[in-house]
Symmetry: C2
Subunit: 335 residues, 2 copies
Amino acid sequence: MTLKRISKALGVSITTVSKVLNNYPDVSDNTRQRILDYVKEIGFTPNTVAASLRTKESKIVGLILPNVNHYFFNNILQGVLNSAEKAGYLVIVLTSNESYDLEKKHVEHLLNQKVDGIFISLSEETYNTQHLGSIIDSNVVLIQYDKISKLINSSKVVIDDREAANLATQHLIDRGKRRIVHLRGPLMPQVAIDRFLGYKSALEVAGIPFDQSLVVTCPHGDDEEGFDQLKSLHENNIFFDGVFAHADLVAVGALRYLKRKKIKIPQEVAVIGFSNWMLSEKITPSLSTIDQPGIIMGEQIFEQFARERLQKVSGNTVQYQTKIIPTNLVVRESS
Amino acid sequence: MTLKRISKALGVSITTVSKVLNNYPDVSDNTRQRILDYVKEIGFTPNTVAASLRTKESKIVGLILPNVNHYFFNNILQGVLNSAEKAGYLVIVLTSNESYDLEKKHVEHLLNQKVDGIFISLSEETYNTQHLGSIIDSNVVLIQYDKISKLINSSKVVIDDREAANLATQHLIDRGKRRIVHLRGPLMPQVAIDRFLGYKSALEVAGIPFDQSLVVTCPHGDDEEGFDQLKSLHENNIFFDGVFAHADLVAVGALRYLKRKKIKIPQEVAVIGFSNWMLSEKITPSLSTIDQPGIIMGEQIFEQFARERLQKVSGNTVQYQTKIIPTNLVVRESS
DNA sequence: TTGTAGGCGTTATCAG
DNA sequence: CTGATAACGCCTACAA
């Protein structure tokens, strides 16, 4: 079914049908009603593809996630989907699997597909950002979230990782801990750096000397790493009474080691994670952590997009904004 | 950048450029190379929207999930994304939130968008299936997965819930348990019914009398329900030595109750869940469960689509297939 | 108030 | 081997 067929069936022009469907005022009530009735009767809805070829507006956005098997990114997805649905937008979802090549390929694909916006959290491999430049050149709205490049001019939605890590470390210090291990993320991405800096600054404020031997990396963020790293510290007789892990799963591994060694949690060693995965409240002892409100972030990502898009089509100058989403300390049994 | 601009820049026709880009053989090597070089130089890629208006092939599929905050559906998503990426397809993701109205709206939206295929797991509210009929009428490939309607003629990808539940119950029986509680899902959807039937048939085969008082529903599938239902059975002095929960999270709640009451797991009561969530191996005691291979299912969903799509465009008659994905019993500490 | 005509960027047919 | 031409379905200045 097309406008053409409808116009033939009713003996009016294609234009008139189109006008009615797009709520143009210059159609007589009589004709309008006739068309509306017929359209409803046959259940017609216009071909979005043709419309977007013409109008250069697809009502589709692309969301690139580093992966989908992560609680935090699920929530981001959920939040974006919520808001997009309300605004009548469709969302194309892609995962970069932390690969720069894939990420770049996805961006190109989305650009060919003429999406109205692209939301991206950079892969851990991404240092070259010219694919982000090409988004901007294509006049497509770019929103960076979570792992962002500060050098690229766009709206951003992030959490204050440094502040959050500071909060977590501060909490352990408040519990009387002074030898706090930091199981940190990989060396490069900004989030891992920021969390490390937050950790360091909390120590500094509390007048606790920084000890490099207490900081070890857990690049994959899984529980094996947490287990192994804590084990090796322990076996090397490095004393510690607190653990701040860059991810809940890593903290779970740490807890597992402590339990195996019958080390009392939190009396002897207190543990705090990062992200507030669903599992962190289900385990024993339940895990203290930093709650990253992923759903809210996802919603904010879309809101930013909608705002910018509006500015763009109404010819106003586009205002980039950086939204910093507050995190919460969640205290449970492990600290 | 468009074909037109390229053709002008090189002094050839639009047609020729298009032919080169689509690997038509009837272009001289010389011209072909010239065009290829230029296209690469300026980094041109054709506008997919225009192409799909013309070819009636969008290279986009729609995936409707009941929700994204469920480990199983995440894996489905992951699997579909994997296969779609390889085949050069884009995936629009939507969640029905178990709402029939939303589901129907999403289907219409996808149809207007002229997607090549729609993959759907029915919401719990869905009994009317005429929106599925309209997918078929639109000549769009429909693949049903997980929660399906048997009445609708389409390819299907499911797990054998009945067999899986039978396996789980059988396992508890093998462990010497005879009074096995079934924490079942809501009354209506087929999956919950099938799991219940599997439970029942395992008892029957083992010659254990079925006791209705051991079967209670946990409609939301969260851990509170598991906890509460087990508590109420226990407090009503209903004896049991095994628990088969319809979801891992429910089983987690059950474990929590047993631990609180210092009931020995698995000696006094053995527990098995369903789905193999990530958390089920992280908790103590780790949870025995049925592994639903979501990623494989997702990949199969896309493969089915690709197969059917090929049959359709090559003019062959379409063969509907039902793929039953085998599940695995995962034995851990709780049983 | 209604309709004509041109074009969005691509692909497919067919003639040269 | 190359290119002119029409068409996909819709929107929108502009003319009637």
